[in-house]
């Protein structure tokens, strides 16, 4: 894989044997609150950036499409991606199920679904990085 710049250094097992618990906690924290896994792991600036990015996209999605976009019953495939946002998605799903949301036009809703789902998938990326921080590609920087 060296030829295409994907020379991965799988030294995770060596470095994480001493601290498996903190990585598990970081993974769970990363799911509950986006960015918290990096914060727990000592990468506070990354954690703040991830929180602003992921939670910002989730919130914008909710503003665009209302809390109705988180719908485990009728939009279950979208919900799989959305639930990766953690606590905000769970709380929204609970509120949505309680019947507080009202159905309206789908234009903002579709965009809201896309925003909240992409936010969730980005958070999955961050959860994996929080659990396995030492697995990096060698071509860091410039795309």
């Amino acid at each position: 894989m060296e030829g295409i710049g994907l020379d991965r250094k799988y030294n995770m097992a060596k470095n994480t044997n001493n601290k498996p618990n903190i990585l598990i906690v970081a993974g769970i924290m990363a799911w509950i609150i986006p960015g918290a896994g990096h914060w727990v792991g000592g990468r506070k600036k990354q954690g703040i950036t991830i929180f602003v990015g992921v939670f910002g996209a989730f919130l914008l999605g909710i503003l665009l499409g209302s809390i109705e976009v988180i719908d485990p019953q009728y939009h279950s495939m979208w919900f799989i991606a959305q639930i990766l946002n953690g606590l905000p998605a769970v709380l929204t799903a609970v509120l949505q199920d309680s019947g507080t949301a009202m159905f309206a036009g789908p234009k903002g809703s579709e965009l809201g679904q896309v925003y909240t789902s992409i936010a969730g998938l980005l958070n999955l990326f961050c959860i994996i990085d929080a659990i396995a921080p030492d697995v990096k590609t060698s071509n860091e920087g410039i795309l």
């Binding site: 950036t49 507080t100 234009k107 992409i118 936010a119 990326f125």
Partner: protein
């Protein structure tokens, strides 16, 4: 309180126009931010971080634009 509840329970009415394509900008910025937060080990050099995020953001927009032009051409000349 009522206004706040209304904001979160009523979807925005977004017309399907050329201008609605600008809704791609915020999500591209978020993707660039989060990707670089994961990718870069050294996050202390703020100037470099901003440059890297900007570069990825511009690249995403450029390739989205190319894809849009290509799809438009396909619809115009191939599909018809």
């Amino acid at each position: 309180m009522n206004l706040l509840a209304m904001i979160f329970t009523t979807p925005m009415d977004i017309p399907i126009t050329a201008g609605s394509l600008f809704w791609a900008l915020p999500i591209c910025l978020v993707i660039a931010m989060v990707y670089k937060a994961v990718k870069l080990d050294d996050f202390d050099d703020t100037k470099r971080v901003i440059r890297e995020i900007s570069l990825l953001f511009v690249t995403l927009i450029a390739f989205l634009s190319i894809a849009a032009v290509a799809l438009n051409l396909i619809i115009k000349y191939v599909a018809n």
